[in-house]
Symmetry: C2
Subunit: 196 residues, 2 copies
DNA sequence: GTCTATATTACGATAGAC
DNA sequence: GTCTATCGTAATATAGAC
């Protein structure tokens, strides 16, 4: 903030525009022409800031992956009973997903056509695997229902959490606690009324 | 089966090839060249069977939508207590999703860039809306937890069910009952052990 | 029904002026 | 840093032979 903010793009500000368009039209459905229209500069000006379309994708999914992996390093994810660590990671994953919504959205839609996309898929699988191990440990402790296959439960839990990107839009001034609570409640407590 | 099956394509058999490629590379990431390689015929031969790429998409998502809407007409979906109708629809949706896996997969990934895609999105929303109404009725009966927002629960339920297309691959000779059971158990009963 | 050849447009990326 | 102009390629789709 040393000088007045100029109205020009940086790779980061350009990225935020690009990611939005990618999410609306899909990465493959977005041309440099689409990006230039959305950014209000010409196609060739975009190449002054980034090497090309794929660099924008790489920056975006990197940001999403960094946010997700950071959760696994937090104290709540490495200490305590496995079942509580799982719930913590679930809650924090929801929060990261909401805070970095457009970036995580793009990450979750990657198909694997380019090298960048395949790298993103691989890192995602690694994250999933680490959470799956946590669930396994919670199941071994007897804290998860014994009648549900643990790999299946992991998939369904992820599916539910990840599906947030398809509809959730953050409200200004509203915390994400309620959303995270609801997800954890539904995943671990179930929908049905507990009747005795 | 009146005559011996010829080795030539019909719109339907071509569709099954195309949908597979669409799901691997994404619709926008798939060129007619990709399709021709996968089908083993030339690009121009494809145009003999269908008007173009978008017709393949339209046929595919129509098939998926028909399967899903048919569930809402079944007796189990229109009779009985709302909470049981919801569980029935959930179970049957899982089954349709598995039986028509590639078609539903494609449907769930549609973005809205073309007229066909926007039509598919609209029909999907209508299906979602009908199930949401069912959940609402079940909540009004007191059969769903009162502490969960019903619209949110609907979204999460759908998210969990729809996420199946991202990983489930049918096993030959295996029924889908187990999968549907697991989904219904997790959604309505929750993951956690019921401790008194 | 399938092919080769091609028309036409759209795309990603670059050159070079300002 | 942004622009106009353009290159080379790949895309959808068609024409017309067999």
């Amino acid at each position: 903030m040393t000088t007045a903010r100029r109205d020009t793009y940086t790779p980061e500000t350009l990225l935020s525009v690009a990611v939005q368009v990618f999410n609306e039209r899909g990465y493959d459905g977005t041309s440099m022409e689409h990006l230039s229209k959305a950014a209000g500069i010409s196609k060739s000006s975009i190449y002054h800031h980034v090497a090309g379309k794929e660099e924008l994708l790489r920056r975006a999914v990197s940001r999403a992956l960094d946010g997700l992996f950071a959760v696994l390093e937090e104290p709540g994810a490495v200490r305590g009973r496995p079942v509580e660590r799982v719930e913590y990671v679930t809650r924090r994953t929801v929060e990261v997903l909401v805070c970095e919504l457009p970036y995580v959205t793009l990450l979750l839609r990657v198909r694997g056509n380019t090298r960048t996309e395949r790298w993103a898929l691989e890192r995602r699988r690694e994250f999933d695997h680490q959470v799956a191990d946590l669930l396994k440990a919670a199941a071994d402790d007897g804290d998860l229902r014994a009648d549900v296959d643990i790999r299946l439960a992991t998939r369904l839990l992820f599916g539910m959490v990840n599906s947030l990107v398809e509809w959730y839009r953050p409200h200004p001034g509203t915390g994400h606690d309620q959303l995270a609570d609801a997800v954890v409640h539904m995943a671990f407590g179930g929908l049905r009324t507990v009747r005795d």
